[in-house]
């Protein structure tokens, strides 16, 4: 029991670290890509959108296998990283971050795109006329107005990153204390017939997720200019 309790905490922190970093990456990438898809009209835009959604349809294990092929030491990229920096994604928590980011990416960029498209573009025009740079308009007008939709995607992405285990297991392995995240630990406990352990871990994961999601809701910037339904 003591042993289990100790194990839990490393796994909890590792999971938070992996899901947190993956979410940060996806906030940056997902919001940028969502914005680009919403604003720039180019040929094949919807096709690109669809291609970027494909990580969703692939069984995570398969995705993990492709990542292994891409990042492994035998690959061009993996070899280069290893030779120049002595670094490898395989069996490291950074590998888990890569897997979790890719799995959760569509969840972030797609709602972000929809939220940016729903903005009344006259407000961005008003900001332009006031002499504010496009860069600043993004942060001062577009982002706050798209906030709700973006947050919905980011929270989904965080939950998915926390729950992912198929691709993660493949790339990062399942080494307790190093790469064994909560969801991998759950999976392993189930496999080993340790049902109480698994239930406990599910409870812990759920609590972690509830706490993070609820605090994120609190963080949201003040209601964005909307009337309550009746005043």
């Amino acid at each position: 029991m003591d042993h289990l309790t100790n194990l839990d905490w490393t796994a909890v922190f590792l999971s938070l670290k992996v899901a947190g970093v993956a979410t940060l990456i996806n906030i940056v990438l997902g919001v940028s890509v969502g914005y680009a898809l919403a604003r720039w009209r180019f040929w094949g835009r919807d096709l690109l959108d669809t291609l970027l959604t494909l990580p969703m349809v692939m069984p995570p294990t398969v995705l993990g296998y492709y990542l292994l092929v891409l990042l492994g030491r035998r690959s061009w990229l993996g070899a280069w990283l290893h030779d120049h920096f002595g670094f490898s994604f395989i069996f490291t928590w950074q590998g888990a971050v890569v897997a979790a980011s890719i799995v959760a990416f569509p969840l972030v960029f797609k709602p972000a795109r929809a939220a940016f498209e729903a903005i009344d573009s006259q407000l961005e025009q008003a900001a332009r006329v006031l002499g504010v740079s496009e860069f600043a308009i993004f942060f001062r007008v577009s982002l706050p107005l798209a906030w709700r939709g973006i947050m919905a995607g980011v929270l989904l992405g965080f939950a998915r990153a926390l729950g992912e285990f198929g691709a993660t297991l493949m790339v990062a392995g399942s080494i307790p204390g190093q790469t064994q995240t909560l969801s991998i630990a759950i999976y392993e406990a189930v496999q080993a017939g340790n049902d109480e352990g698994a239930n406990l871990l599910v409870l812990v994961t759920s609590l972690v997720c509830i706490i993070v999601l609820l605090s994120a809701n609190r963080l949201a910037p003040g209601r964005v200019g909307h009337r309550s339904h009746e005043i």
């Binding site: 407000l123 025009q125 008003a126 900001a127 332009r128 002499g131 740079s133 600043a136 706050p144």
Partner: protein
């Protein structure tokens, strides 16, 4: 300052085609545009502000070329630095009155704080009688309060021209008078061209150094 306008633009919707063809060359500093609803007044101001790109023509303000189709020049709204009052205000719904007014004063990627204090902002809050509602968001404002906020936001930076689309339409007679005086004074200080769209003959009387009539997309010679 010479103001040269010669723009063409066609809008096609399924049943209806609207052609804008505006020609104007003037040294007047205060121009009032009258005209029936749907004549193309707002579109003309949008073209000058850089919010609508004409199909052809030129827009010159003093030395600056805002737009020249043949030379391929089309300055961004930011580069034109005009004061533009949107007919429907276009206030930022997530910012309070004070922040809306101060919006153009700060550069960088952060909005002014809700309590942003600045002599210019205080000045306009007082003049336009908005101090009491300075902390309120646009959806908590009356129609006239919105209009005054939008006007203050447009006027606060040092603009190269004043483009005002029915600036007093939502105001009572008394406030109109106050604000007309204020605008009159501002224009005299800045000495920049002013184009004002209105339906109010009193506006034309005060600001109409040159009064233009618009109809069906074109400017008629002075009335």
């Amino acid at each position: 300052m010479r103001f040269h306008l010669n723009i063409q633009k066609t809008f096609r919707s399924r049943e209806h085609t609207f052609s804008l063809d505006v020609r104007l060359d003037t040294d007047a500093q205060r121009i009032v545009i009258l005209g029936e609803s749907g004549a193309g007044k707002s579109l003309t101001l949008k073209a000058i502000a850089g919010l609508m790109r004409p199909d052809a023509g030129q827009i010159l303000l003093g030395e600056s070329v805002f737009y020249d189709q043949q030379q391929g020049i089309h300055l961004s709204p930011q580069q034109r630095r005009v004061a533009y009052l949107f007919q429907d205000y276009a206030l930022f719904p997530h910012l309070n009155v004070r922040q809306n007014i101060a919006f153009g004063l700060v550069q960088g990627w952060r909005n002014p704080k809700p309590e942003f204090a600045d002599p210019q902002v205080e000045y306009w809050l007082n003049v336009f009688q908005l101090r009491a509602v300075a902390q309120q968001l646009p959806h908590q404002l009356s129609g006239g309060q919105k209009q005054r906020t939008a006007l203050a936001r447009a006027l606060i930076a040092q603009p190269t021209a004043l483009l005002l689309d029915e600036p007093f339409a939502a105001l009572d007679v008394h406030l109109r008078r106050v604000m007309r005086a204020e605008l009159d004074q501002l224009q005299k200080e800045l000495q920049v061209p002013m184009l004002l769209i209105t339906h109010d003959p009193d506006d034309a009387a005060v600001f109409g150094e040159q009064v233009l009539h618009m109809k069906n997309g074109s400017l008629l010679p002075r009335s």
